[in-house]
Symmetry: C2
Subunit: 364 residues, 2 copies
């Protein structure tokens, strides 16, 4: 099950070892793909912000943290309603320890970061219950493809993460529209996964769009446009543009299944150069099923950073062990890239110390 | 005077050879920095567009050409009032022949491209005669610095070009405000350089800003804010962020002197890792004086792509030999990078054939 102690293989062991051998000691480049969807403001659906309205700020604040080590558009850092800090803290710590370059791509934002980002001409997403969630999907995918293709010439491999509050619900929407049985399988940033609420929201959206389960199997653009979010469009385009040339580590949890499904429908052959990189908290989560999603779409490897915060003295980090947050902002994939780039000098333990230090600086 | 037949050394021969040895056969990354200024709409000041109002579209159209090989926001390609095509044709041809990755950074745009670009939160510039030309200069520089720093981790060296119609007039503004005697020394995209018009415009701007020659020698932010353009802010930030880590080839004509002056005032020590890369048409131009500008600021090497269109069968290209256009969109620097990356396989002649082919496809 393990490559080294720092990285767990959760799915497709042979392909996973092969993928790891392709990227070991190579030079990664990290891209955080961000977007907003009004879906995040449905009460109880997202923990990516202290209260629903503030989730508008979370992606911007997350990438400010990545660039500057502190947020600009909000005080402090994004937290869950219980005060648990954003996984961007993990990502920031991993990227700085391993000196990995970072860029931000926006699929469509309501709140723009006080930081540089690549604009694809996208707009923030609507509440998926309208059945008209995302505008301009095709163009966003096309522009992201151009970006992915150019980044593929500037790094040995790409690590692509995401920040979009409400994103597991929109992922569920895309998966159901495309005929992947994702009910009870997508994860949550909350300790108790509100599956029935998510399913109700998605079903309302599918109904409004006049779409039944699997109707949009071959129409990923339609699936995103109806019940997806702008991040999925941008992320998919990046993979399409890059993975024919360099390996791409898709850094995220169950939302990656929605991206996988979109990419498979548009250009399945690039998926041989793709793996999912996530956290131990996702692959051990009993309220979601990343393997069960991936195996329905395309058997790509699933790797997990063996992060363990149980020994941390900081309660806000220890809470990750109780299943809060779990993943986001590419935390798992960025950690894996940091382990591999430094030949293990950055280990899970070294990383935790850096995260704790950054936590204290920011939250005190 | 020559490194090989393809590259001319126009200034600081020893440092130029040293700079060339650092970047030869290495992997470059090209960034086109774009912006708009209302200054371009002053009649007779810019040839970067068929008539003054259309210059708003030129930067967007130029970068669309770089990415797609064709423009999206206008029909055809940007041309001078005489119908001579944009130098983006040269840049596009060089970058594709040598497979060099390309990114776009916006300092502030009136017209956004149908293509991905890095947003720095800047706004389009005003007419410098107001004396309040650019907003938010410090923040644009700071964000560009972040971008330059991250790109420096993803390439062996950077080649940074620009597209901002009216840009030699705003460059003159910044140079005079900072105490560089640039009268009669900045170049023009027109065959007859309208020096007295440019000087009149700049003097009006300086007067409106309450600034006399050299008053802002130590205040580059103030100089840009008063009589500069958003491109200069973005470009300077990129150099500041990157040049402490990797060589930076500043790809442009006399406008590069304005950037040099800004960078010197903010962090002079990075200039040891910088050279200007331009075209033969600039270094042989009798109506401007790039050496006379550079030597007043900081003696960095000036290299020139030995492009020669005199044998071309295409009249629109032959016109470059009569001093129309001369430079822009990083044409000279991109050509130098293509020569060096391919070890001369892409030569000045090979490049001309590609430019002619692309010209025919686009303009027919």
């Amino acid at each position: 099950m393990e490559k080294h102690m720092n990285i767990l293989i959760a799915h497709c062991e042979v392909e996973a070892r092969n993928f790891l051998s392709k990227i070991e000691s190579k030079k990664p480049l990290f891209i955080c793909t961000i977007g907003n969807t009004e879906t995040a403001k449905i009460p109880e659906i997202s923990a990516a912000g202290k209260y629903p309205e503030i989730t508008d700020y979370t992606p911007a604040a997350d990438v400010e943290l990545l660039f500057y080590g502190e947020c600009k558009c909000i005080d402090g850092v994004p937290v869950t309603p219980d005060g648990i800090p954003t996984p961007a803290l993990i990502t920031r710590s991993a990227l700085t320890l391993a000196d990995i370059p970072v860029f931000v791509v926006s699929g469509g934002l309501r709140v723009k970061p006080y930081a540089p980002f690549i604009d694809l001409g996208g707009e923030p997403g609507e509440d998926i219950r309208t059945g008209r969630a995302v505008k301009n999907v095709e163009e966003v995918i096309r522009r992201a493809e151009v970006v992915g293709s150019n980044f593929s010439k500037a790094a040995d491999y790409l690590v692509v993460g995401e920040s979009v509050p409400g994103g597991t619900t929109t992922a569920l929407g895309v998966l159901l529209a495309m005929g992947v049985d994702a009910r009870l399988k997508v994860s949550s940033s909350m300790p108790v996964n509100p599956h029935s609420l998510k399913i109700r929201v998605v079903e309302e959206g599918l109904k409004a769009a006049g779409v039944e389960f699997g109707d949009l199997k071959s129409d990923p653009v339609g699936a995103i446009a109806s019940v997806g979010d702008p991040m999925i469009a941008a992320f998919s385009g990046l993979v399409l543009g890059a993975a024919s040339k360099v390996p791409v580590l898709m850094a995220g949890g169950t939302q990656m299944a929605a991206v996988l499904s979109v990419v498979r429908a548009l250009r399945a052959e690039v998926l041989g150069n793709v793996a999912i990189g996530t956290t131990r908290w996702i692959i051990q989560d009993e309220s979601s099923d990343i393997r069960g999603l991936v195996s329905q779409i395309c058997d790509v490897p699933v790797l997990a950073a063996n992060l363990n915060f149980s020994e941390s003295e900081i309660e806000g980090l220890k809470a990750y062990e109780r299943g809060v947050v779990k993943e986001g902002v590419g935390a798992g994939g960025a950690s894996i890239a940091a382990f591999l780039k430094t030949g293990g000098k950055v280990s899970s333990k070294v990383l935790l110390r850096e995260i704790e230090e950054n936590y204290r600086k920011l939250i005190g």
